[in-house]
Symmetry: C2
DNA sequence: TGTCCCGCAAATTTCGAGATTTCAAGTCTT
DNA sequence: AAGACTTGAAATCTCGAAATTTGCGGGACA
């Protein structure tokens, strides 16, 4: 497999601990290539936000902060709601069919995980099917830019959620939520779609009262 | 100046014609460095969507299609409206002050352009002030991710609008529209903010009835 | 005349060595 | 003892040459 694709896979699947250094000189051993080639992949990944890059200080896996997790989740809600609603407006029956198919595959894998427990092979299948479901959801939105930005955020989301993904926390909830999204799509119900997407993600938002870092000193100080 | 920053500047200011090849071997002459260093910058810029990259086929300036222009404009409306409204909710008087200052600088430059006509030095000043105004607008939104994605879209927008920017078409309109955005901000009026932002960009959207590429054969065929 | 195949030139990518910068430990000064 | 300076090893970045791939043009063949 390509260095870039495989590094991205590892970055979003919890192969690297948060904050660790990513040295091209070391990683080249995992691929049969030079450090320059790895460096090139890391540079591209850093432009996508999956790797932190500081000039003259190399590459790092990003830290996992609650704020970052919240931010990325919010962004996914925004882009995915918008994209899904546009897709409802433009999609038509062909889109509904594709989404139903994608959901069927995903749901099948999720059931097997629920029955057999997690395993590396099922995890890989799930990762592919989950991405395909959410990509299909937006596929008819009519905006290549929106689809592209959503994909960027999708990977960042997987990256900060990697620990939870690994254990399949919330598997039962996810099964229901994916079904709710599919239903909203085939019913052409935009409001239900926004509700379903919010429901799917809101447990990863920070509680509303949580510390807001933006304004200077706390008003209650 | 850094190769990466300068290439980005040139990419969004119309230095390159749409669709032309960008060869590291050639561009290295503009900077006192090797082709590898230029290649590295181009790779990062391609991850940001300002350069098209195809494996084994090198780099190109993206083509300018009406669809792409429409897409990017739509995305800017979405992100900028969302960010500005969040900033209204969280901003406070310090944010309003910074926005007023940024607007003052921008407005001053725009007036000078209206009086003296465009010129390379004013154009450079304008580019900096316009970016700063729109960045300040979102600066209090509380989401680093939203700010980052907006910046990505901002540069893409400038890239597809470069021809118009160069001639300062719509200068008079822009002056009014920037003022309207500032007003909505200091009044804390989210609905007015959304209206103002839409107004600022809608002339670059495709007309509502225009060809929608997504569905298969035209219904009217 | 048109098509296919081969080979050459140009473009792109990969590579490892050399130059530069960072980081940490140790030494000196106050 | 705290802080500033020195020093060397390790990490990072730059570079141009070598290897690979692409694309084009000429010639063979139907």
């Amino acid at each position: 497999m390509d260095v870039f694709d495989d590094l991205r896979r590892r970055l979003v699947s919890g192969d690297f601990a948060y904050g660790v250094k990513l040295r091209a000189e070391v990683l080249k051993n995992d691929y049969g290539c030079s450090a320059s080639t790895v460096r090139e992949a890391l540079l591209r990944l850093s432009a996508m936000g999956l790797v932190e890059f500081q000039e003259q200080r190399g590459f790092r896996m990003p830290d996992q902060s609650p704020q970052r997790q919240h931010d990325i989740t919010e962004m996914r809600i925004l882009l995915e709601s918008e994209g899904a609603c546009r897709a409802i407006r433009r999609g038509g029956v062909a889109w509904e069919a594709r989404l139903t198919a994608a959901h069927h595959k995903l749901s099948h894998i999720e059931s097997r995980i629920a029955a057999l427990g997690p395993g590396d092979d099922l995890r890989a299948l799930w990762a592919g099917a989950e991405l395909e479901f959410h990509q299909t959801l937006l596929s008819a939105c009519g905006s290549a830019t929106l689809i592209e930005m959503h994909l960027t955020v999708y990977y960042r989301y997987r990256q900060v959620q990697a620990e939870k993904d690994r254990k399949f926390l919330y598997l039962a909830e996810n099964i229901q939520e994916h079904a709710a999204i599919l239903n909203a799509a085939v019913n052409g119900d935009e409001a239900a779609m926004r509700r379903s997407i919010l429901k799917h993600f809101e447990r990863h938002l920070m509680p509303p009262g949580a510390a807001a870092p933006q304004p200077g000193p706390s008003l209650a100080g």
